[in-house]
């Protein structure tokens, strides 16, 4: 140990350079391959911003209009690029404004590193100006957090932050740096972190479990796969596809699993969950083996647990041991990196053909088609539907677009009807359900995948939570396409009020400003559509535009999302109307 310490000290003495903590922060980020961050300056983070200014030829900073916008943008960037999203904020309100985004990233496993400024270490705990205990506040919603009070800690801690954020099951890390640590000097030498002694990023695959799982899959008559975002986070899309194509198992996804497999794939039987498809929800309670891959049995997926897949044996593939048996008792757990476990299982699973079983899915799809989908996609009523807008966007973008959705009815329509062809195309706030997510996330998504079309689908409610970020679009020229589906209600809450609260519409009616004028005030071309005959043309114009574009579509006011599993009901009691 001592020799090692001496060697490190010797290396630092020989190769290091003397710089300030603030400059070290930027040098660490560059060493991690990060040259883009979102943020908002303020007193306690000014030394770092001064270095951002000096390094502007190598390091790009996007000034958002609120720290929440910054962190959602970083989330959007991370979700489409698979890289770590980077955020800066100052102490106090700057830091607390990040909390919603941190919680969102934690529950949706999005890799982020947030650096907040903090008051000088001599002031800690004194209720100094803009002091807040962001370590205490962020602890329950971060994968890891740490407060740096000495400049010399910076390289090691930032290296550790990146390693922790992106390894294993990803998540947000917050590093709080006191102002004196930013001003202080250190002998800088950067070494990437490759392990943390108390943390096993990826569990070791137990091949016996793989064999057991394969045997159960081989013996199944009615196997059914539900996959989640783990397939995307594990970069296991190809392994997943090979696995289902060999075994011919009908496969459904969770909301966050969308786009890991192309929507049109013959084995893709839709989405499970509260507003998912009819067939996979109903047949969850008919399958004999349920194979969960990189998903966590969220209550919005399972409905009432007491009646969820009770007839089935359950196999759970996940990287996080804490997810196994958390909500649904599993018979076989394969705890490992899903890319590795799916590759391994290929040699043990037999080729199979589940034609008759697949027919059951097809039959129920037809039921949903007649009862729900046709009315949405080819409506005969006068008012426009959200489904036909999504369908119009599919046509115009050829399914190549990244769909960024906010939270509410429009989100469910986007998830249900978007036609995905490429992975990492569904950017949305799933676990936390953060209204206001989509606009800033779309800005980040565009920067994370500049070659791709990015369409934000937002409701009139969520849009007004973060529409200040139009200013960020004005300043950065991010060419995002913004679609506001305006039904003049907080539609999802109104739907519940209609169904479960005898239509008492408590505070869900929403009066909105002239959205077109608002967009135009930010120099964004804007169109409002209220008639069906104008919709296709407006979408065409929007997609053809090389710049940011705003499209408001006036939607039938009291349209509902169906199918629906009411809270507490079983997945197989999903309602079609």
């Amino acid at each position: 140990m001592e020799t090692l310490k001496r060697e490190v000290e010797k290396e630092i003495a020989e190769k290091s350079i003397r710089i300030t903590g603030a400059e070290a922060v930027i040098k660490c980020l560059l060493a991690e391959g990060v040259n883009l961050a979102y943020g908002y300056p303020g007193g306690a983070i000014m030394p770092v911003y001064d270095e951002i200014y000096k390094y502007q030829d190598q390091f790009h900073h996007v000034l958002t209009r609120h720290e929440q916008g910054a962190i959602h943008a970083a989330q959007g960037f991370a979700r489409v690029s698979g890289k770590v999203g980077m955020v800066f904020a100052t102490s106090g309100p700057g830091a607390t404004n990040l909390v919603t985004g941190i919680a969102d990233a934690q529950i949706d496993s999005t890799p982020l590193v947030c650096i907040t400024g903090q008051v000088g270490s001599h002031l800690l705990g004194s209720d100094a100006f803009q002091e807040t205990d962001i370590i205490g506040i962020s602890t329950p919603v971060t994968k890891w957090n740490y407060q740096i009070t000495k400049a010399s800690e910076i390289p090691e801690i930032i290296a550790k932050a990146f390693y922790i954020a992106k390894s294993g099951r990803p998540g947000p890390v917050l590093i709080d740096i006191t102002k004196d640590a930013q001003f202080g000097e250190l002998d800088f030498l950067y070494k990437k972190c490759e392990k943390v002694r108390s943390y096993r990023a990826v569990p070791i695959l137990n091949i016996d479990k793989v064999k057991e799982a394969a045997a159960l899959i081989n013996s199944a008559k009615k196997p059914f796969i539900v996959w989640g975002q783990g397939v995307i986070l594990g970069k296991a899309e190809q392994e997943f596809k090979k696995f289902i194509e060999k075994t011919n198992i009908p496969s459904a996804c969770t909301g966050l699993g969308l786009s890991a497999l192309e929507t049109a794939h013959p084995l893709h039987v839709g989405m499970v969950g509260m507003h998912g498809n009819y067939a996979p929800n109903v047949l969850t309670n008919s399958c004999d083996v349920l194979i969960a891959i990189g998903m966590r049995f969220d209550d919005r997926v399972t409905g009432n647990l007491a009646t969820y897949a009770k007839q089935a044996k359950v196999i759970h593939f996940d990287i996080d041991p804490a997810e196994v048996d958390k909500n649904v008792k599993t018979d076989i757990a394969v705890i490992a990196d899903v890319k590795e476990s799916l590759a391994e299982i290929m040699q043990f699973v037999n080729k199979a053909d589940h034609k008759e079983w697949m027919q059951e899915f097809n039959k129920l799809y037809d039921v949903e088609l007649k009862a729900v989908i046709n009315d949405q996609l080819n409506p005969t009523k006068e008012g426009l539907t959200m489904g036909e807008v999504i369908s119009g966007i599919n046509k115009e973008t050829n399914g190549d677009a990244i769909m960024v959705s906010d939270v509410g009815q429009h989100q469910m329509f986007a998830w249900r009807y978007a036609n995905f062809k490429k992975t990492r195309s569904n950017v949305t706030s799933g676990g936390l359900g953060t209204m206001g997510f989509a606009l800033p996330a779309a800005i980040g998504a565009k920067m994370g995948a500049p070659e791709r079309e990015v369409v934000a689908i937002i409701g009139d409610g969520g849009y007004q939570m973060t529409c200040n970020e139009l200013g960020t679009i004005l300043q950065t020229k991010a060419a995002v396409k913004i679609v506001v589906l305006n039904n003049s209600y907080l539609g999802m809450v109104r739907q519940w009020q209609e169904l479960f609260f005898d239509k008492r519409y408590a505070s869900t009616e929403m009066v909105s400003p002239n959205f077109v004028k608002l967009a135009e005030a930010y120099d964004i071309e804007a169109v409002r559509v209220s008639k069906r005959e104008d919709l296709a043309g407006a979408i065409k114009t929007m997609i053809a535009s090389k710049e940011a574009f705003f499209l408001e579509v006036v939607i039938e006011q009291e349209d509902n999302v169906f199918p629906m599993i009411p809270t507490g009901a079983s997945v197989s009691d999903i309602r079609l109307s």
């Binding site: 602890t139 329950p140 922790i164 108390s198 096993r200 041991p321 804490a322």
Partner: protein, 173 residues
């Protein structure tokens, strides 16, 4: 409803600032009351050990321990039933010296592992250690003398089954 049981949780962690907050947040999130808690160094250099006692159903304790284990700076987390551990608590009783020569109190002191650790003309302090029940009994006996102060430590526990922390550390590294 599954029955609530006493569980002792041992958590081996790095000795860093803020870990207590991170661990207690997991109990808070699940609305679990911590009956007792002790923190100390462990048998391994630079590794700290938390000992919690909680009263919950077994299916819940399993999930909680996995969540504790998941924290980056936690090396290992384990739960044990009462018969898997050897455990101990210590209590201090401060009593007015007027009772010092009371024969009855001396009788009550005959309880095993109780002795006077400090005396002056105004008060004396009895230290007692043992199981929670032993200390509860002692408390009931001494209460009539008017306790000037009473304090009891959290549980410390050694487990009968092995907790292979050194092996765990070696395996990760």
């Amino acid at each position: 409803m599954e029955e609530n049981k006493n569980f002792t949780i041992s958590v081996y962690t790095e000795n860093n600032i803020g870990i207590l907050n991170r661990l207690s947040a997991i109990f808070l999130k699940r609305h679990i009351n911590i009956e007792s808690m002790t923190v100390s160094k462990s048998e391994i250099d630079r590794v700290h050990r938390f000992t919690f006692v909680v009263i919950v159903p077994e299916t819940l304790i399993r999930k909680v321990v996995l969540q504790l284990e998941k924290q980056i700076e936690v090396i290992g987390a384990f739960y044990h039933t009462e018969d898997e551990i050897i455990y101990h608590e210590t209590a201090l009783f401060k009593i007015s010296s007027e009772h010092l020569y009371d024969e009855q109190i001396q009788d009550k002191m005959k309880f095993r592992r109780a002795h006077i650790i400090s005396i002056n003309e105004r008060w004396f302090v009895i230290e007692a250690s043992g199981l929670k029940e032993d200390i509860d009994r002692m408390y009931d006996k001494l209460k009539p003398y008017g306790l000037l102060q009473f304090v009891r430590s959290g549980r410390i526990a050694i487990t009968k089954p092995k907790m292979a922390i050194s092996e765990l550390l070696a395996e990760i590294n």
